[in-house]
């Protein structure tokens, strides 16, 4: 049964030098970066950090050199990604573009789009957001209502996107919307490259999450004009284009390292003297983490070979979210210190932040229910 077989990933010792370079860079750049900021994991935003990282050649690593990339392998990119996440570096400014929008533009974009956009992604200059969910279309992406109507010289967009992470600061949005009628539930969809800074009639308003953070936004398109060259890929092929992004989106180390700051805080407290029960819990956590990492690296290896491991990616994300979400419970079962938002000490602050963050882990990027449905179908359920 191929779905449960994850081929061994290529050895990671080949990239040991790279790993040490990244660690040295992070030790210097994040020397004064406090644990409660690290707890934000890949939701931390810093254009300055993204640019510095890009100057080291660690953004757009897998992109071709002619588009400002570095023509390195998915495995090398993986090493950099996991080191950034484990350190809690503020990466969101370039993360989405580097992970999926850049590769999407490279795969489906016109030569002009590639030349205009991709080098700036690789320079760490561009922040992307993904316009996918709508008020009446969450897990059911095919219920998308936002529509692009063809007009002279381009398209008119009408509709509303929600939960659009970092739309308020992003430079571009990859917009998923309807461009035609189709009998096929998945037909008639397209993707657009929207320049958020240079397009009129887009209003972006904040949606504050339960932790008081502003990551989400509502984005309203009101007769918004997009030029013809904003169309990304084939008209009507939006559904399959989105599906091919998913293996990139769902299998990376960000799917199990989001609570890592809390793990480091917890282990710091237990290091001195731990009971046998505490040791065993840390051992269980270590086993899960070692295995998730191996599975995720295996998917990176498959992506590197040009395969489409979207089912394996769904498994990594489902297991990864369970792991990340379990960390506050685990911490509370081993250490009796209350969570304090903002913190009396770094453990209390990181616990508080993480407790409020974890419910989103099995919602974003495909809910648990959707992933399990995908996995079940992949198993051969009729």
């Amino acid at each position: 049964m191929s779905l449960t077989a994850f081929p061994p990933p290529p050895s990671c010792t080949d990239y040991d030098d790279l790993r040490q370079e990244v660690r040295a860079f992070l030790a210097e750049e994040l020397a004064d970066f406090p644990p409660e900021k690290r707890a934000e994991s890949w939701n931390g935003f810093s254009r300055d950090f993204s640019r510095k990282l890009a100057r080291r050649g660690w953004v757009g690593m897998t992109f071709p050199k002619e588009y400002g990339g570095h023509a390195r392998s998915a495995l090398e990119r993986y090493v950099v990604s996991e080191e950034l996440l484990a350190a809690g570096a503020p990466v969101i400014s370039h993360w989405i573009a580097d992970r999926q929008s850049g590769p999407l533009i490279l795969a489906k974009g016109t030569d002009e789009q590639k030349r205009r956009i991709v080098p700036r992604i690789a320079a760490g200059e561009l922040c992307f957001c993904i316009g996918m969910s709508e008020p009446d279309s969450g897990s059911d992406l095919a219920a998308t209502r936002t529509v692009a109507t063809e007009v002279d010289g381009g398209f008119r967009i009408n509709g509303t996107k929600v939960w659009t992470t970092y739309a308020h600061v992003a430079d571009y949005m990859i917009l998923f919307c309807r461009t035609g009628k189709s009998d096929d539930r998945h037909g008639g969809m397209s993707q657009f490259l929207v320049d958020l800074k240079a397009t009129d009639h887009i209003s972006i308003s904040p949606i504050i999450d339960l932790g008081g953070e502003h990551h989400f936004n509502q984005v309203v398109f009101d007769n918004t004009f997009l030029p013809s060259d904003a169309l990304l890929g084939e008209k009507g092929e939006g559904w399959s284009q989105v599906m091919s992004e998913l293996a990139f989106e769902r299998s990376g180390p960000e799917r199990f390292l989001s609570s890592f700051a809390l793990i480091e805080e917890l282990i710091r407290l237990l290091r001195e003297d731990a009971t046998e029960a505490q040791q065993a819990e840390i051992g269980r956590l270590s086993a899960h983490l070692m295995v998730l990492r191996q599975m995720s690296r295996s998917v990176a290896g498959m992506l590197n070979e040009g395969k489409n491991p979207s089912l394996q990616a769904a498994i990594v994300k489902d297991l990864g979210a369970l792991f990340e979400q379990d960390i506050p419970r685990l911490a509370r079962s081993l250490v009796t210190r209350p969570a304090v938002p903002g913190g009396r000490d770094s453990y209390a602050a990181v616990l508080a932040y993480t407790e409020l963050a974890v419910p989103s882990f099995s919602l974003r990027g495909g809910t648990r229910e959707i992933l399990r449905g995908i996995i079940a179908r992949g198993l051969g359920l009729r």
Partner: protein
């Protein structure tokens, strides 16, 4: 991965390891004809160097046979013989052929009596001991590790069995060992517990793949409320959970198998046995939930697999043993951060 020896084993087990054969073995009948075929195919030699009769395949591939045997619920000590031969070959001892088994030897006392080494003590729940010619184990004398090949006919066995009805016998050891039966370990080797944990992790992963396949099949075939039960989201989610646990266990076991004979083995095998043992709980429970009452009968073959994984998780260290080991290594590691411990665990294992 395409592998000739895997294909050969798959065909052999598919043709010969039937529900009936597993039933008969569980009631005490030794499946001799099947063992002869396995021996003829040379499968039990897969992990020894080519010069000693192996196939010259990498350890990861050789050990894949254990997963395949697990997937078929093979009621024979193939995995144990595979490991025993490799340990004997590693200590430059002759390979006796035939069925062998392994045991943890920490409880054995070795002493020199004249020219000979005398072994005494009690080995507990040795897999398939009564069907094996020799028990291979490792014990300590004067601070050095010795590989011992104990002839079963000179031991007193006290028979017992595991949950699946497979022989697990206590052995009373009190004998002078001949020179041919004691090997000096010239380089550090993994203890029998770790090697046993490796084969049990692989076997659990294989058996869980079969359990998952049976459950998918049943969910497609069984109709209630006018549709196959696999159409219900609750059942789909059970199956997806089983797939995740199974995939994680197989990945973990193969990670350990791939690091066999490397410094990373100690930690990866700990992770593998802990992870697979934990998964066995969930996968077994969900498979029975999906199968309903029919899966709880002797007639249905599900129990041959669920009882095996429940038994195997108890052997060669339980989850508690291995998570304790791993946790102590993590918490006492001199690495600056836990993350560095994790990245190193896959490469060089625990720092000395």
């Amino acid at each position: 991965m395409d592998s000739m020896i895997h294909d050969m084993a798959e065909r052999l087990f598919r043709d010969h390891v039937t529900h009936r054969l597993r039933e008969d073995a569980a009631s005490g009948q030794f499946p001799e004809a099947l063992w002869m075929r396995i021996e003829e195919a040379g499968l039990a030699m897969a992990l020894v160097p080519e010069a000693a009769g192996g196939f010259g395949v990498l350890p990861g591939e050789a050990l894949g046979l254990v997963r395949i045997a697990g997937a078929h619920g093979l009621p024979l000590p193939l995995a144990e013989t595979l490991i025993a031969n490799a340990v004997l070959a590693g200590a430059n001892l002759a390979l006796p052929g035939g069925r062998l088994t392994i045991a943890e030897g920490e409880s054995l006392r070795l002493e020199r009596r004249g020219e000979k080494i005398h072994a005494s003590g009690h080995l507990t729940l040795v897999p398939f001991a009564r069907w094996a010619n020799r028990i291979v184990t490792i014990a300590v004398l004067d601070g050095a590790d010795y590989v011992l090949s104990l002839p079963v006919k000179e031991l007193a066995l006290d028979p017992a069995q595991d949950l699946a009805g497979m022989p697990r016998d206590d052995a009373e050891v009190d004998l002078a060992l001949t020179e041919a039966d004691v090997g000096v370990v010239s380089r550090p080797v993994e203890g029998m517990r770790a090697l046993g944990a490796l084969i049990r992790s692989l076997a659990i992963a294989g058996a869980m793949e079969t359990i998952l396949e049976m459950s998918v099949q049943y969910a497609n075939d069984r109709v209630q409320f006018g549709r196959p039960i696999g159409k219900f989201q609750a059942i789909q989610h059970y199956l997806a959970t089983m797939a995740g646990e199974t995939a994680a266990s197989r990945t973990a076991a193969e990670m350990a198998a791939g690091s066999y004979d490397t410094p990373a083995f100690a930690l990866t095998v700990a992770a593998a046995k802990a992870r697979a043992g934990e998964a066995a709980e969930k996968v077994g429970a969900l498979a029975h939930q999906i199968h309903g009452a029919i899966g709880y009968t002797q007639e249905h073959s599900l129990h041959h697999f669920t009882k095996r994984i429940w038994g195997w998780r108890d052997e060669f260290g339980t989850e508690l043993d291995w998570t304790g080991e791993l946790g102590r290594a993590a918490l006492s590691s001199p690495h600056d951060t836990f993350w560095h411990f994790i990245t190193d665990s896959a490469v060089q294992g625990a720092p000395a």
